[in-house]
Symmetry: D2
């Protein structure tokens, strides 16, 4: 049993980690920390855990964490993560960080999207935790920067195509939609039930912080500087994320080439489900799971290629992928602890 | 008081017509027809109407309609409308048709998207009921083909720009999202609460019937054959529609030109609200109203122009625009009966 | 035109007041105040108001209010209202207060449910604003304490029956359910979208502050001390309130007596709709309106009387009833400005 | 591995059975039948199953079922179940039936609530599948009539109290609320998204078919004829059920007695979670799980006892309890295959 601590366990990503790890047959939830709920049993914060998880929330104390756990997952805000990671690594822990702090290898790029990095020297080491793409490097990593939810949803269908040069890299448009849990458990008017329910709107249009992250990934994989036009929208639902991506196939590339490329790329990826022609991904079918469903279509009139993907923003978009990465890091089969099926409704 | 009959009053568009007409100070609801509920008081079908509308649903009988009303709005399925319109016109009634049957002037275009037209001779006469664009012709029309909800939402922000040649007409992408009421009140698994709730998905990708309709409008206004790539999505909510449109400004065109163009085009249009820079349209702000809110943004990195619009699919996208057209046809101020405000929540 | 100021216009009740008053043909929205949004145009706080209401939020200044308005509606938190009401009355304004501060005539009762009253001398004067029951006294009042949403929904079906002694006053049980907007626009974890959506639960079981208020009303009308067992529940929706009330008919009283009693009591009440036998009230049918729908049923096996009512908590349960009271106070027909119909969906 | 067939696998209860059995480590999904989808892979009907369940839907053929399976769960409509059960029993299969057909031992009682029974002789044998109460008899049963969702939710908190005579059996009131999935996957206007969303209402007031079922159970356990006044309500959500039950403690019984009684009754019941004083059950905490959460409160003014319970109507209220019963019938630990935790959101 691998002993894992969750740092920041009382946000939504943290609570999902607790839920997944509590059911993981080869991992043991060693400790949970929370500033806000220190000393309080976590099943009091989340009554759903009653009868299953009896840990109390601890204050963060690295020496205690190191004594209790072999690995930690950090579900902390950006900028906080980088203040605790060096110490945890020094104590021999392996770290998966859900914040943006260790997603970038280039400190300047991080600085331009967030703020100056406090431990830039660690950025040469950190591995971007997109499990299907960087699985081998993740397996050997001490420090994994878990991808953002939007980058996961948007780049998984694109990477095989740009790697093979099947699509043009200018004018890629990603129109993405997310449920509210992506904004976390902190209270805000934007997350107030009445402000969200029975409404739909774009937000942070062409200025979302996940944009540079996906640009970084696609540029690297396309081996050419690439910028996606990215518009996120807020869906009146709790969890689920869907992206519709518009791109242009290169000359001579047809739908069959695209299907084949994606099929080969994800043939052995247990969590990427390539849909059949004519099928579209729905957030329903991946809700609560670590799947990324991908569908493909071509506009019959102008040949525009339309890629569609769906994930659960809290699972494949955060905590599930973190556990998938832990599995890779500890030589456990990738799907262990993550094999639940979405409810039919 | 203009006497108006609603044909097909017990679907959602029909019920909205009843609601709007019941509160219209210069129109009188003369009759309501329904095949399914013939003989039943409409406030039994929609208890919300109790105390306000006491009409019973009639079987459709053109001679009775002609005796009772000066105008009719048809909220019938495609293909049914065209079987009743000629008779209604012959009896001297003015007709606004919510179906697709009289939106096209070209019978071949109609036939390719729907089925062969039964009264193609009327297509030379019918006026496309996009009130802000064709108001003058609508005012004088006997027969108005009320626009589809998606074409209303997508073409209103585009038309002024293509008219002035500010944007490229190839590669226009319209990513649109609609609440469930757009599918009507007929029962279907697709509209089952549990199939929709807490889920989001694209549907009819690049094959929705509203696509040729918006292509027709934009081609006409751009004076060049134009095809939009159009992907609709289903939002887990009842009413509201939002479109995010990606297009390329022509060389030398900047954001200021776009704002100015739209500002001038809709300066006197009471139902088009051009948002301020930085604001985004939300379906919340137009819910239950005849407004179309429009926002504009440019991707700062690649100059991609992003147009965003929001309407209520049942009001501006159907019944409200029908009443707006009736106002125009009968010389009533455009906003009469349509001046309600969206609920704050 | 009666000039009305809304004090505390940027909560949900305040925003509803603005919406209703903006469409009121005999009232004019004279001023809106907000601590949080002072100086900001209210259509920036609520974009739905764009094009209709162009007032900016003012800081609260009683001399300015008195110069601008003849009446004020207070949408302030409990305890704040009573600090401003005396001054407003002294300046000759007529006041409808949405808080609990002026609902009780007995300062001790108020103190036991809330806190010591600061101006107990005004409690002898204040009139409880349940329009259908106390309309005459409201018409002549300077100061009206607008009822809570739950008391409105629960007492309207009960009062005629206890007045006539048709039901036992012990063991009245009110099981009530409310949408989230009842908790206001303040941010809180309890109102976070993800905490509410797709969940249902009781809260403040037998300890809600509206319990003493409804006890007070029923005790007065029954002319005997009466306590209702009251359990509120939170519905995953924005607006709407429904109560199912269980009570025992007195010996010899049958369903016909109950229907007749309610029918006579509300014969001339435009906003109380007594449903037909077999019909049940739905929050849908009253959404956005000032109606209270009431249905009645008897358990055929044990004779238990079941009363059911539905209101919109923000309209009849707050701002609509406030405007109804203003209408009464200024000799305007009760329904003016409140005659909209609920959307069919 | 126990081989289990699901008859009627493409409704919501059937799909939940498939989901639960697919993850059950000691059971194997042997066959799935569906009239509507015969020949179609079930992961095409429910794309969430892709990659996990590859069975195709079969037509119902008892000889094939008998060859493939040791046990069957029937998720068929009332009245259909009883036409197939005798044959399945004759072939040596053990049967859990989700319909009402085998919940009653008295054919007259069944007939009065449903229709004349076709195999009344089997009613002497059938065991009512309320696992926590009749576990021993279920373990030895050939035929189990799985309880209705409402009876499960309402009787679990009541049975220990009536068995010990702690509460009066007259005037028990059960005010219950259910998500829409309880109505099944069949299309109907009542289940149309737009009819349900953002609305709340009672239905089948004092005439729901689950009423005689719960009366039967409580009468048996109280050893006195007992009738509950029962009013169900429809919640605008997919899954979850909550009941608030009002009852009178017998003379001398206080809250401590009630807690103790329930605590002892369910001390070893893994799926009944007795909440702490002051806690209320929420459907959120049991969503997707087989738990029944129970809370208790006393009205401090009149001593009314208030019991509150919450279940997932599709799991503990249907398919989960069916699997729990199968576990009991095959000597498997009760919680196996049912140990998942509700999502935090």
């Amino acid at each position: 049993m691998i002993r894992v601590a969750v740092i920041g366990a009382t946000g939504y990503a943290g609570a999902e980690l607790v839920r997944i790890l509590a059911g993981h047959p080869q991992m043991e939830l060693a400790a949970v920390t929370s500033r806000q709920y220190t000393g309080i049993p976590i099943d009091q914060v989340f009554p759903a855990l009653a009868g299953t998880v009896s840990l109390a929330c601890e204050a963060y104390a690295p020496e205690r964490i190191a004594a209790q756990a072999q690995a930690v997952v950090l579900a902390l805000p950006h900028q906080v993560s980088m203040t605790v990671v060096p110490d945890l690594l020094d104590r021999g822990l392996r770290v998966v960080d859900l914040s943006a702090d260790f997603r970038f290898n280039d400190p300047d790029l991080y600085a331009s999207a967030y703020q100056p990095h406090l431990v830039p020297e660690l950025l040469t080491e950190t591995v971007y935790g997109l499990s299907e793409i960087y699985g081998e490097r993740i397996a050997g990593a001490r420090l994994v920067g878990n991808p953002g939810c939007y980058p996961t949803c948007v780049t998984l269908p694109l990477i095989p195509l740009v790697r093979q040069g099947l699509i043009a890299t200018d004018r890629i448009i990603a129109d993405a939609k997310s449920g509210v849990s992506g904004a976390g458990r902190s209270v805000s008017l934007a997350a107030h039930f009445c402000e969200v329910h029975e409404s739909f709107k774009p937000y942070k249009v062409a200025e979302h912080r996940h944009n540079p992250e996906m640009d970084m990934v696609i540029s690297r994989e396309a081996e050419t500087p690439t910028h996606l036009t990215f518009v996120p929208h807020l869906i009146p639902m709790s969890r689920g994320m869907q992206a519709t991506i518009y791109t242009q196939p290169r000359h001579g590339v047809d739908l069959a080439n695209v299907w084949q490329c994606l099929g080969e790329a994800y043939e052995t990826a247990p969590f990427v489900r390539l849909l059949k022609p004519g099928q579209v991904p729905s957030t329903r079918s991946v809700r609560g799971t670590n799947y990324c469903d991908i569908g493909v279509c071509v506009d019959p009139i102008n040949g525009q290629l339309i890629l569609m993907s769906a994930i659960d923003n809290l699972v494949k978009g955060a905590s599930g992928q973190a556990v998938q990465n832990l599995n890779l890091m500890f030589g456990i089969k990738e799907t262990v602890g993550l094999d639940n099926i979405a409810y039919p409704v």
